[in-house]
Symmetry: C2
Subunit: 485 residues, 2 copies
């Protein structure tokens, strides 16, 4: 058609549409001729890899497939019946299991100081300043390199942290409890997360200036005890119900948390006014929360963690229980193989950059916040948050399509998290490793972008996927495990 003048290409004006399944470039000719092109998201099974096709066949044998199906249904049921509640605030050293004086927790899979990216190093340095172990950043870097503190993942301690995800012993943490039927050893499961610092120069993006440390001191000395008193007076807050409302108000719980923050604020403010030391203290705490629309993120994350902890240890469940990044590596875990990391290189985030910044400033993908996508919201519920495209790029239709695409690699829908724009269908929930491999479709994560140097902060936001390495390794391990199970 390209060789005809445009007016002669379709003389009878018959409506034409090209259905396109091949390389993107091939459709350019038709598109250039003004013919609508429908892109079909077609990838050959297992990306055409014969070994993975054979392994997938092995998992598809009826007896094994039925057992996997049963395990997955159990995982989904456990996730859907979990009832995460916010029950209190405590100091990490006192409430996080396995926390020690010389231990710093961080986002993502395990990593040594030598391999840490700029923002994670910056956060560690800030942590040493906060804990009074270093008097200046130079000393902090020296101490960190010399092994003065140990580093372990948040996820190894029932905790999660956004971006650098640093948890040091003196930091206050939210305490969440699963009050559903899935307790471990007769006791409710717990998950933990620090309190969100706000935007600008903050520790989680690797900043460690005196304003950052002073803010963290205010949070420990004033914010946390005031909130704790209010929470005690008010009683536990059912986070699943609250988040269900937030999803009807344009949040997706990862990069849009304005509704959740507002609803939490409403739940806490009356008790806070009643129990605060004085009106001025109440006002300062309320102002701190009011100024930070991401305050609720540090509750959606441990809520997601609790939902996923309920799925851990089901031997043949083929779903993903953790996705997390430390700024260098991306790691995932499976419900069937708790504690075992499958790791690949963290990717560069594609998105919108703040004025003056570009992709060359960006640190690779960082933070435990991908736990939200793992639990079936965040990027997976983007259809609920059309306004988020102003932050991460694209159009509201892209947001709908992301949710629809994620439905293809998940085990089911979460009716508690209904998405109005999709006719109140539930958010797609629990990534099925087998579907990711078969369809060649990686999870979509929406996320903030940190500057690659310590101390700079956020430079943008956008979309990212895990590296294929994580899923290929996890798939091999799952098949080996399934053979023995």
């Amino acid at each position: 058609m390209k060789n005809l003048p445009p007016e002669n290409r379709n003389p009878l004006k018959i409506p034409q549409t090209v259905l396109h399944l091949g390389l993107a470039e091939v459709a350019q000719g038709a598109r250039g001729a003004g013919v609508p092109v429908v892109e079909v998201d077609f990838v050959p099974p297992c990306g055409g890899d014969p070994r993975r096709m054979a392994l997938l066949d092995e998992l598809s044998r009826p007896a094994l497939a039925a057992r996997i199906e049963e395990a997955n249904q159990q995982a989904l049921k456990r996730l859907l019946t979990a009832q995460p509640h916010l029950v209190g605030i405590g100091r990490a050293r006192e409430v996080v299991p396995g926390m020690r004086d010389d231990l710093f927790l961080h986002a993502g899979p395990p990593i040594s100081w030598e391999r840490m990216s700029g923002p994670l190093r910056g956060a560690v340095m800030g942590g040493l300043l906060l804990e009074g172990r270093a008097k200046d950043p130079q000393e902090a870097a020296r101490l960190a390199a010399a092994g003065a503190v140990r580093f372990e993942p948040c996820h190894a301690h029932q905790a999660v942290g956004p971006m650098a995800g640093l948890v040091t012993p003196s930091m206050p943490v939210w305490i969440l409890e699963d009050r559903g039927p899935n307790g471990a050893d007769g006791r409710p499961r717990r998950a933990f997360c620090t309190l969100n610092e706000g935007l600008g120069k903050v520790l989680r993006y690797g900043a460690f200036s005196s304003e950052v440390i002073e803010r963290l001191r205010f949070m420990a000395e004033t914010l946390a005890p005031t909130l704790q008193a209010a929470l005690e007076a008010r009683g536990p807050i059912d986070l699943k119900t609250l988040f269900a409302q937030a999803l009807q108000m344009g949040d997706e719980g990862h990069n849009r948390n304005r509704a959740g923050t507002s609803l939490l604020f409403r739940e806490l403010a009356p008790a806070l006014a009643r129990t605060a030391r004085d009106g001025e203290t109440a006002a300062r705490v309320l102002e701190f929360i009011h100024k930070n629309d991401h305050f609720f993120l540090n509750l959606t994350m441990p809520m997601a963690k609790l939902l996923l902890m309920a799925t851990e240890g089901i031997p043949l469940a083929s779903c993903v229980s953790i996705m997390a990044r430390n700024g260098t590596d991306f790691g995932i875990q499976l419900s069937a193989l708790p504690g075992r990391w499958f790791v690949g290189p963290a990717q560069v985030v594609r998105g919108l950059y703040f004025p003056g910044f570009s992709e060359k400033d960006a640190n690779p993908d960082i933070g435990d916040s991908a736990i939200t996508e793992t639990a079936g919201f965040g990027g997976f519920a983007m259809a609920a948050a059309p306004a988020i495209v102003q932050f991460v790029g694209g159009t509201p239709e892209d947001a709908l399509n992301t949710t629809r695409r994620m439905a293809g690699i998940t085990l089911g829908a979460n009716p508690s998290f209904a998405i109005p724009s999709l006719g109140f269908s539930g958010a797609p929930t629990l990534i099925d490793l087998r579907k990711v491999i078969e369809l060649g479709r990686l999870p979509t994560i929406n996320t903030g972008i940190a500057h690659r140097e310590p101390g700079v902060g956020q430079v943008g936001a956008g979309l990212v996927t895990p590296p294929w390495e994580c899923f290929h390794q996890a798939f091999e391990a799952f098949v080996a495990h399934a053979r023995e199970a």
Copy 2:
């Protein structure tokens, strides 16, 4: 096709769609045969009425049409540049222009006690009890019938009120000011509205029991002064910016106000904690707001009123400046003819009823809240609030279609009120009387439904339109006016 067995009706399986422009019943045959039917919303121009077609032709003559167009553009520009701010709270007697000790204001066009519906009568009786003019409901009814107080529309006093819309002299009212460039006589325009009482048994639905009167006393004695002190400390609140955010969070500003209420709560709470008499007072006031997701409605309404007041008095503007109902009559006013009511019978609302109630319990349409649709949100912005269909009936797709349909009878889009699900296009704004007449398409209003007896309260919510009488009369008057202008 109907006489063939289903499997023979389309033996070649060619996709079939029926495009249907006629009576709804005609399409039933095709639909029954399983063929998709696309309903085209076709109405002959002016409903086929030759007189109105001739009048519309008269308005379409180039010289006059150009002047109307210019007037409408001016009206739209004035609405878009208005900047409604919440500036304070005062007692109606002291701040509402023309308020007197023996005057009660009510929703909708003027009406006498004799013609008032149950809920409006109930509210008047409650008002007499509140003002201490009657000692029981019987005495109140007797006094009202005997003319002890005068009745005038809220709209005649720059005020608006939801449902019965009663404003009595001692009630506290929000004070809003237009801080944009459109002041009247060099002073900013003001609009007024009472504070929202909450749900259940409330005066605006015609309830007047002691709990209703006690709540109104708490509002006057504790809620209003505490809020006023907080507002003074905080400074004016830009309502257009706040509502723009609420529209991105699933509100449409008439029957969904959860986001607006939450955002207002956040704006007020810190200053309130700082300025309240004591922590307990702050807590009680915050609890009162927190328990009522419609608290913000009584601010979207006077905000809408201020936007529309900016359009009043433009001689050839063909847009609607007021739609309001008193429970018996529906009245509209035009920007070109301020102060002149065009009235017809209030309609029955179609929607969802609370358990135990049905259409036979329903009072006809009541309240000034249709000012929200008049200003280009509420039902006109339903696309922003897909979750509202759980309250008023229908599907999220219906909500999108309502907004699209209203775009056909409005002068333009309001870019300040962007609707994410429609690609951030602005809410359709300013109803053009000519388009309503030409297309035969009435504005869609979403609204609460009051029980027809005084004292019962809300029984449901749904969709309603004005009666055609209002628009036919207004059209005749506008043409007569245009001939002279």
